[in-house]
């Protein structure tokens, strides 16, 4: 009978934990069948294996099992899944400690303590269900955004894991002397790691801030240059038009030629300011290098945050390299086409930053060779560009040729 109650409680516990992770991460259960099968298998495993094991090992097995089940049923990334699992477990441990503390305070009888254990489990289930509350979701996700912004994600998971073990060890050892020693070692180790990491992070943030300063300075310089160029071009054409009205036929023809030439020089993107800070320099440089072309550029920026704040320095660099190569290819292909269209779209979701580059093109494309080492569709070049992006760790590139347009999507995980 007790075993049955244990199994029932553990199943309720697991379902409520999945519910908590699902609510906090605002994800959908994509595969309900896997979920049901997973829970049934868990019940069997619990009866056959987990109940026979020491509590710590049993707990670890059920955590990892739940992670696998949630990963299979949702589209949550591993990073986010770990974050929410740790949050949920910390909630559970805190409730558990409170109940254990009360049980130690009110009773010394082992049987009564068992009742408190059941009560503790039910209270944890209650806490998990409370994770569906909008305010709780908002607060937890605020914490998550803060961690992501500070680029502390992976380290924070580690720290949280340590806290979990520390808190867990207090409960398991019921605050005896050994428990205290373990606790002190864990806390000292955590603090040491935290301090080291904090210093490293600070150095990285300082160098990143310097880079941002330089990028913003360059950006401003380019924008001023564009304005000056526009004014110069406008005045020059006005002056030439003025001279045209007081000169002979031959000179008028010459002036007309000059005006046509000045007007045909690269049309600078009107919405240049739309390009997100951090990559506007690259985009401008590439477009500017493509001088004399009649390229029609359109940029749709749907990013809510600054790219440099979203990505770590390593990922930002990888993005810049990939964007440079993809833009080179896109501009060169678009220049050779009749329409000469280049479209850039910047979007993001919870986990990814997405750059979509669409360009028109004209010529021969080998769809089985494109992206392979040494293959190039360009007249010049060595064919290493696309190949090198496809082999980047932090970047995912998908390319599709749709209705005579080249669509490249560069994805970077946040």
């Amino acid at each position: 009978m007790t075993v049955l109650i244990y199994i029932l409680l553990s199943i309720i516990f697991q379902i409520s934990m999945i519910y908590a992770v699902k609510s906090l991460s605002n994800s959908k259960i994509e595969n309900k069948i896997i979920l049901i099968i997973g829970i049934v298998i868990f019940a069997i495993l619990y009866k056959l294996i987990v109940l026979e094991l020491p509590t710590e090992l049993g707990t670890m097995i059920s955590i990892f099992y739940t992670i696998i089940i949630i990963k299979l049923c949702t589209k949550l990334s591993m990073k986010n899944l770990l974050f929410y699992m740790i949050v949920v477990w910390i909630i559970a441990i805190i409730v558990d400690i409170l109940v254990m503390f009360l049980s130690n305070f009110f009773t010394t009888n082992e049987e009564n303590k068992e009742i408190f254990k059941f009560l503790g489990t039910l209270m944890i289930v209650g806490a998990f269900l409370a994770c569906g509350n909008k305010i709780v979701i908002k607060k937890i996700n605020y914490l998550k955004n803060l961690i992501t912004k500070l680029h502390l994600s992976y380290f924070s998971f580690f720290i949280m894991l340590l806290i979990y073990f520390t808190l867990g060890s207090i409960c398991i050892n019921n605050m005896n002397d050994k428990g205290y020693i373990v606790l002190v070692i864990f806390i000292a180790f955590s603090v040491l790691l935290f301090v080291i990491n904090f210093i490293i992070q600070q150095f990285q943030i300082i160098s990143l801030k310097e880079s941002i300063k330089l990028l913003n300075k360059n950006n401003e310089f380019y924008l001023n240059l564009i304005d000056e160029y526009r004014i110069l071009k406008h005045n020059l054409i006005s002056n030439l038009s003025g001279i045209k009205s007081v000169t002979n036929k031959k000179t008028r023809a010459l002036i007309d030629d000059l005006i046509t030439e000045y007007n045909s020089i690269l049309k600078l993107p009107k919405n240049f300011k739309e390009i997100p800070t951090g990559i506007s320099g690259i985009v401008y440089e590439k477009i500017y290098s493509a001088n004399n072309s009649q390229l029609q550029l359109k940029v749709d920026n749907k990013l809510k945050n600054n790219i440099i704040e979203i990505l770590s320095a390593r990922k930002f660099n990888a993005l810049c390299e990939a964007l440079g190569i993809t833009l080179d290819n896109a501009i060169e292909a678009a220049e050779q086409s009749n329409e000469k269209i280049l479209y850039l779209e910047f979007t993001e979701d919870e986990n990814k930053l997405i750059l979509k580059i669409v360009n028109t093109f004209s010529g021969v494309v080998d769809i089985d060779e494109l992206g392979k080492k040494n293959y190039t569709s360009k007249k010049k070049g060595h064919g290493l560009g696309l190949f090198s992006i496809l082999n980047k760790k932090d970047i995912k590139l998908t390319t599709i040729i749709k209705n005579n347009k080249f669509i490249s999507v560069v994805t970077v995980n946040k």
Binding site: L297, E339, Y343, V364, V365, D368, L370, G371, L390, I401
Partner: protein, 235 residues
């Protein structure tokens, strides 16, 4: 049946478009259905996701209290490249060549400049146009190709590669065999030579004596064999 989806926050313009659509649909004996939206909403997204009908979206670009018509078009094109999109706008500065091309917009019409005539012409063109958006999809090692079958002119075999010649001068090479490609294409494609498949609908002239055919683009392809005449000429 065509479903017209009007996204317009000006009720008067909405009514005007509705009357015109009813008139055209009755005169052409076309089954139709009209849906109205004043802004982007969950129900409009549901409509976008429902791809069971042949649709024509008639949208304003600037919508009050909503994302713009261009952004709605981007949402439509996330999955649906079959529906037609017509923009009705009050600002000619909104006529974006890039958006028009990227989002495959059928037309941009100015609200206060011959809107009635332009819209009527567009709707008639769409109704009379063969609803043909069949696509040939080929998966490459690192790139996928999706091309409208109507835009494929002919495919020739060159060494180990099949070369797809498409409208606009673009050419795509693939490792797939002509036999495999013929399986993937529809009945408009026929074998004209042991190393050529051609789009019958794009041929304007066939000369079996001199072994060539001419395409509607003016290109002359010397890959026509008498052996395949019966199949090519089959109605």
């Amino acid at each position: 049946m065509i479903r017209f989806v009007i996204v317009e926050d000006d009720i008067q313009i909405q009514e005007k478009i509705k009357k015109m659509l009813v008139k055209i649909s009755i005169s052409t004996n076309q089954d139709y259905e009209i849906k109205y939206f004043e802004k982007y909403s969950k129900s409009l997204q549901k409509e976008i996701d429902d791809q069971t009908f042949r649709k024509v979206y008639i949208m304003d670009i600037e919508l009050e209290k909503s994302i713009s018509g261009i952004e709605i078009a981007q949402k439509i094109r996330e999955n649906d490249w079959d529906s037609e999109i017509i923009f009705v706008t009050s600002h000619d500065k909104m006529f974006e060549t890039v958006h028009r091309n990227i989002l495959e917009v059928f037309d941009f019409i100015e609200k206060f400049h011959e809107m009635d005539r332009r819209l009527e012409e567009d709707i008639l063109k769409i109704i009379n146009k063969r609803f043909d958006k069949k696509i040939l999809k080929i998966k490459g090692a690192n790139v996928d190709l999706e091309i409208y079958m109507k835009n494929i002119l002919y495919i020739e075999k060159d060494d180990r590669k099949s070369i797809i010649h498409a409208c606009g001068g673009n050419t795509f090479k693939t490792n797939l065999t002509l036999e495999k490609l013929l399986e993937m294409l529809d009945e408009r494609f026929v074998q004209t030579h042991k190393s050529c498949i051609a789009n019958r609908e794009r041929m304007v002239e066939r000369n079996y004596a001199k072994n060539y055919f001419v395409l509607d683009t003016g290109e002359k392809v010397e890959l026509l064999s008498k052996k395949y005449r019966k199949e090519i000429e089959k109605e």
